[in-house]
Amino acid sequence: QEFSCQIWGIFFLKKTFKGNLRNYWNFLPEGFINTQLFTRFLSRISQDSAGQFFSSGHTNNWAVLVCTSRFWFNYRHVANTLSVYRSVKRLGIPDSHIVLMLADDMACNHRNPKPATVFSHKNMELNVYGDDVEVDYRGYEVTVENFLRVLTGRLPPSTPRSKRLLSDDRSNILIYLTGHGGNGFLKFQDSEEISNVELADAFEQMWQKRRYNELLFIIDTCQGASMYERFYSPNLMALASSQVGEDSLSHQPDLAIGVHLMDRYTFYLLEFLEDIHPASKANMNDLFKVCPKSQCVSTPGHRTDLFLRDPGSVLITDFFGSVRKVEITTEAIDLTDPIKEVEERPANGDVHKEMHSYVDQLPVSEIIHQKPKQKDWHPPDGFILGLWTLILLVFFQTYGVKHLRHIF
């Protein structure tokens, strides 16, 4: 993605600075770095003009919630994702706008002593796997490729709507990742990784395709801050549960279930979100304070330098909820414009009403009464005539013409 960005930059240069091309070609080795800065400058120019465009706000909310690890002992990652799913849904984002990717099925796992439940608090206080959980990508469908395809929208035409991120340039997207990670990567399904560079390029592609207005990126893995280090697209805000070199730790095991139920960061995030309601005015600064080092043993981090607006002015519900901007007016709006009526004057002069009858689209009576199928084919008359003439000829030839006397 960076390379293509640079090529784009070079072509842009070639187009606009044709006269000075020779000069720029001379500076090609260091010109690469120059073009990178130049493209960043160009994008910033577009951002300024875009910023005015975007200050009018978002119109719809999307959420992409991904749990990347499987196996029973990673119960907590599924519980993390489902808690965020629960909060997001509670605050108003509908299932059609949530892409939920769970790499393993904990609720119906054979080792789950409480089947069809995923608890986030010990002593089974809160079951985040309710009756209306809609998982869009499940099991082995949660792969790096699918995740990137969801983000960038490059899905095969047969993909159903529930598996697509159909965001536009006025969408605020919440992206939540959890699982096992390291410095610069996140592990998917214990078999592949996504790197921070890939993620950053995916977001850049989303930006170039105008697939988001503002994007909030939360990651709860070990060394999670490394994943947002490489972002370079505008309007991105990122939170992570731990810095580079630190491990995110799990919160509390439940002895009845036998595994750790949640990670610390998401646990306290869930506690924080439980206090948020759709009319809440809590802003991002409150979110940054979630889980201080005393509660999470790791240090949560955040990144707001790519974000245009001041985080203090960004509501939690801008990303976690789906709040419609409603303007209440007490004025009456006149909808009845004078409509020109075209009167039909029939030729004979009298106005008659057309009797509309219900179109008989389905021959129900025939189906009910099961009439036998009409035979559509008939032998041609010439054939019948010829055949029976021959038969009669043979008959009379055999038995003699004298029988005709007896017949007639």
């Binding site: 041609p380 054939f383 010829g386």
Partner: protein, 460 residues
Amino acid sequence: MSGLPGFLIDDRLHFPSCPSQGGQRFLVEMAAPLTLLLVLAVTIRAALFRSSLAELIAERVEVVSPITAWKRVVEGLALLDLGVSPYSGDVFHETPLIIYLFHFVVDYAEITFMLADVITAVALYMAVKDYNKQVFRKQKFALEADRYPLDCLELIRSPKEMYYIPLKVAMFYLLNPFTILSCVAKSTCGLNNAVVALFIFSTIKGNTLLSAIFLCLATYQSIYPLTLCAPAMLYLMQRQYIPVNFRRASFWWFIAQYLFMYLGSLFVLICLSFFLLGSWDYMPSVYGFILSVPDLTPNIGLFWYFFAEMFEHFRLFFLCVFQINVFFYTIPLSVKLKEHPVFLIFMQLAVISIFKSYPTVGDIALYMAFLPVWSHLYRFLRNTFLVSCVLLACSTLFPVLWHLWIYAGSANSNFYYAITLLFNVAQVGQPGRSQRRLLIESLTETPCSPLRKSQNEKSY
């Protein structure tokens, strides 16, 4: 009801003049048993039609073939109703006249097939009756001409024996399990049998035109009855006292007449079939299918196994070999059996039903119906028990090995083909043996003695 006993006068056998008016008497007297037989046969078939066995039997590959299956007829008619030619695709391989027939009677198909069986039985009955009359008359003349020596007494047929033969023939046809199966499966083989039976009847009656027309109909439906031309011509010539001699002009004139009638009606039928559907695509579908054997569904014939493993390079060659095999026996057999054309018909029918490309048990039933006609030879047949046991065992083993092969998976096609081969060998053995005895009997024209008889046995 009493027969006419022969009695010995002066070391010569004398029979009282056999009443030729007895033919009608026979008919009147035999009408009741025949009707009873017909009623019984129809009852059995109707009972089987109503039972659940009908679908089971209709699927058996021994009873239906891709040409004769009723399922395909219904499919062809349905295609026609949808406006598509029934010969498109590999569905329907019957002639257009069958389409015409069943277009009107498809709802009464069961009655049609039962009627076909009844027609066959009645035609065979009357044909055999007429044949017996002629045989008896010939025998009488030969007797009066003192051409039979005394030792051939046991070969001479008495009217008492021959009285019941037509009924036996009808019975052999109607109550044969093969026929019943074929009828219940609604296989168009029944219609084919009816046409062949009518052909035999008209031939024995001596009607040249009808014989040619029915033979043409039989050939039109499946190509193989073409070989019945030769025995038909032989019989009609003998009946009209035309000597079978290549040098005689009357011989060729008669052949020309018969062939003209035969080919003319064949031409008329083919053109008529063209007019039914307005296209020639029935030709490759019917005749091309019979001759080129594209469908290798297992049946009781010999083609399928061989051609399943045949390389494409040699397929045409072996196809020609197999098809010629059916027609090949006509000329030698006609030369050998020119004095016995009806027996030749029987042999030809047997050859056709063994060697045709898609035989079914219905074809076998037709020639097996003729066995009582030569019942006077049975005493001299060897291995009767063996052959009949083999036939019975094979008929029972067909469905067993089919089940083992297709459903249980513990057998394979070799098992089924082995039984097919055995069945056909038994079939070949059976008329062959009768033929031996018939040839021996034919030599009774010349003085025969026990010594002579054994000599003749050796050379054959």
